[in-house]
């Protein structure tokens, strides 16, 4: 616990640099990454990340120093070049974009690795640490880096703020954007520059290989939680910032742990959790919804059966043995027992000895289901022209689904008919 307090107080300047640096990097990549994701350019982000490596090496070879300014310029140039190559290949040949990206990515990265090896073999003392760009060096961030990161983050934020509606429109419908006269090419140029910028800065924390993860994963996670681009940008940056913070903390308490990979592990976990937990779009909530629907259906089917047994004996509150219920309608016996117990807890049935009988509430709910079933059968035959022997299965579904408003409308439309197509009486309100 102490370590967490020490860490969060940011008293140690080294920790301060790492923490603030990591957060700046991850949050700003996430913001730009949201638009990369929405523009369906996720793969392009990966290509740029790999393609900056030769630029960094070239910057080093030409300048002979590890001065970040030279390396960044080099990275920017080859990052751009890779994009131009992808576009050129897709435009001028029959090769599709994904193939072109794969091609460009591996060629640029391969060249970068060769150059890196050559530099390392050359015995130039200044070269040590260049391989940081492969896996990142978040734990070694210094004050100078922060200045650069801070500036870049401000530029990114400003561009996204100013061009928010243009970026969104372009992602949704580019042809339309062009048709209303927006300078589409120039806006795309700005966006691409922002991606390159975010990548060039980001690889210093997490490295070439993992860069695409911090660019795209926060956006992918955020998408599960919202239907608004603005909220999505905000959530992605929060997720990004949190993973930056968590990554820095983990490598603080366990110094052997690299920051960059931990950032990626944390953000991937967030994405994973979102996938399972998010409301509506998430897997779990979908399962929960399906389960509750299934329960309602089972409940109502049993109530319906009890009600129908009541119709036969003209006594709705008479107890029935489970065997009688099973005789009227086939259920797995264990399922029936568990549904009956649930209905008992909910107050729809009560138990007398080994037999079950409807309560007042259970009776009126069973009655409603039977009523809707028969009304719907009638509606399908009279208004939709479906043969009477085909309407039963449809009605079996609709009886659980209809809202009270639609129920009233159905009654009114059919004008409270007395019997259904099979001459069974349609029950309204309290019988007995």
């Amino acid at each position: 616990m102490n370590s967490l307090i020490d860490f969060l107080s940011l008293a140690d300047p080294n920790i301060r640099f790492v923490v603030i640096g990591s957060i700046l990097l991850t949050a700003s990549s996430a913001i730009v990454g949201t638009f990369t994701f929405l523009h369906k350019k996720s793969l392009v982000g990966d290509a740029i990340a790999h393609a900056v490596l030769p630029g960094i090496c070239l910057g080093f070879i030409l300048s002979g120093t590890k001065n970040p300014a030279y390396l960044i310029v080099g990275a920017f140039i080859t990052g751009w070049l890779s994009l131009v190559s992808v576009e050129f290949i897709t435009r001028r040949t029959r090769i599709k974009e994904d193939t072109a990206i794969g091609l460009v990515l591996s060629v640029f990265f391969g060249v970068g690795i060769v150059m890196l090896t050559v530099i390392q073999k050359s015995g130039n003392a200044a070269q040590s640490g260049l391989d940081h760009f492969l896996f990142g060096k978040a734990a070694a961030l210094v004050g100078e880096d922060l200045m650069v990161f801070g500036t870049v983050a401000v530029v990114l934020l400003l561009c996204v703020f100013l061009l928010f509606k243009e970026f969104s429109l372009l992602a949704f419908d580019k042809a339309y954007a062009q048709s209303i006269g927006l300078p589409v090419r120039r806006i795309e140029l700005v966006l691409t520059s922002l991606i390159v910028l975010a990548v060039v800065i980001g690889i210093q924390a997490v490295g070439v290989v993992l860069m695409a993860a911090i660019l795209i994963t926060p956006a992918a996670a955020a998408r599960f939680w919202t239907h608004k681009v603005g909220v999505m940008v905000f959530l992605a940056s929060v997720f990004g910032a949190f993973s930056g913070l968590a990554g820095a903390y983990i490598s603080y308490i366990a110094p052997a742990m690299p920051t960059g990979p931990w950032i990626v592990i944390v953000i991937s976990t967030i994405a994973f959790i979102s996938f399972f937990l998010a409301p509506r779009r998430g897997v779990i909530s979908r399962l929960v919804r399906q389960r509750s629907i299934r329960r309602t259906i089972n409940n109502e089917n049993v109530l319906k059966t009890l009600y129908q047994l009541g119709e036969e004996s003209k006594n709705f509150l008479r107890p029935h043995a489970e065997a009688d219920i099973l005789h009227k309608r086939r259920y797995p016996a264990a399922l029936l027992a568990s549904v009956l117990h649930r209905l008992q807890r909910q107050g729809y049935v009560q138990r007398t000895g080994t037999a079950w009988q409807l309560t007042e509430e259970g009776m009126s709910r069973g009655q409603r289901v039977v009523k809707i079933h028969r009304l719907w059968e009638l509606y399908l035959t009279t208004h939709v022209n479906i043969a009477p022997d085909h309407v039963h299965d449809d009605a079996d579904t609709i009886e659980h689904l209809l809202t009270p408003e639609l129920e009233t409308e159905l009654e009114r439309l059919l004008n409270y008919p007395r019997v259904d197509p099979h001459q069974a009486e349609i029950p309204y309100k309290k019988p007995v």
């Binding site: 929405l38 509606k165 048709s179 209303i180």
Partner: protein, 269 residues
């Protein structure tokens, strides 16, 4: 073949040829459209109807010819032009509400960097009302039916408050009652001197809906007022038999890497 238009035409297309991958899909189109009319574009699948609209909107490069709107190049009159793309051209799983999409129709008027204002929202809501979608303003676009998507696109175009509208199959997937309501809306617009150009597939309704028709099948078959142009003979020519020779020559141009105009060799798209 085409009657003269005395006033400035809303749209003039002159000797337009458009090619994909060198193969021309529209050959030497010449047409002039009057302002204030409801105009249908008809022709079989692959006739180049969408291509014609996209080219007029400046979304595709032309191999030859020119396009003028209100006697000006398109870039001078963008603010007066509105485009309804085919509904399948976008990914409806985008995170946006119906309102967000309709507001996009205001972006042209707003210009770069500017935020949407309350006035824009009011216009957007009004347009949603016109297409009967006001109840869906806050609905996620991923939860719309095909016909509702189409009406959303229509509302977006209306929100541009343009003078000339190009609509690519606005009635695809729209039910008959809505189609009738929308046609009424479009007819009212033309009475206010707006020009509306609609790609349409249902030949039964052409004479009821349109003042003018453009009949297209890789080349222009006919263009003029519906009662004189929409004839059995023109229909036969538009829909009857494919022009195999024209299409074969197009293939030849692609294979042989011929420029489709001497002297100009525009790169294929």
């Amino acid at each position: 073949m085409q009657p003269d238009i005395t006033t400035t035409p809303a749209l003039e297309v002159h000797d337009l040829t458009v090619a994909f991958d060198r193969k021309p899909v529209l050959w030497n189109i010449d047409l002039k459209l009057p302002a204030g009319k409801l105009i249908g574009i008809i022709g079989p699948n692959g006739a180049g109807k969408s291509t014609l609209i996209k080219t007029v909107m400046g979304l595709l490069p032309l191999s030859s010819g020119y396009v003028r709107l209100y006697d000006q190049p398109i870039d001078n009159v963008r603010g007066r032009i509105s485009y309804v793309p085919q509904r399948e051209s976008v990914d409806w799983d985008f995170p946006a509400s119906v309102m967000d999409v309709v507001l996009m129709g205001r972006y042209g008027k707003l210009g770069l960097f500017r935020r949407v204002r309350q006035a824009d929202r009011d216009v957007a809501l009004d347009c949603l009302r016109k297409v009967g979608m006001e109840a869906y303003a806050n609905r996620q676009i991923s939860q719309l039916s095909g016909g509702q998507q189409q009406r959303t696109f229509l509302a977006r175009a209306l929100a541009q408050q343009a003078d000339i509208y190009f609509m690519d199959e606005p009635f695809a997937g729209v039910d008959a009652a809505t189609e009738k309501a929308i046609i009424g809306l479009l007819q009212a617009m033309t009475e206010a001197q707006k020009t509306v150009i609609v790609v349409h597939h249902d030949l039964q309704s052409v004479t009821r809906y349109f003042d003018w028709v453009i009949m297209l099948n890789t080349r222009l078959v006919a263009c003029g007022p519906t009662e004189t142009t929409f004839t059995q003979q023109n229909l036969q020519e538009t829909y009857g038999g494919k022009l195999t020779l024209l299409s074969d020559v197009g293939d030849l141009i692609r294979r042989e890497h011929f420029p489709n105009r001497e002297g100009i060799s525009k790169p294929a798209l």
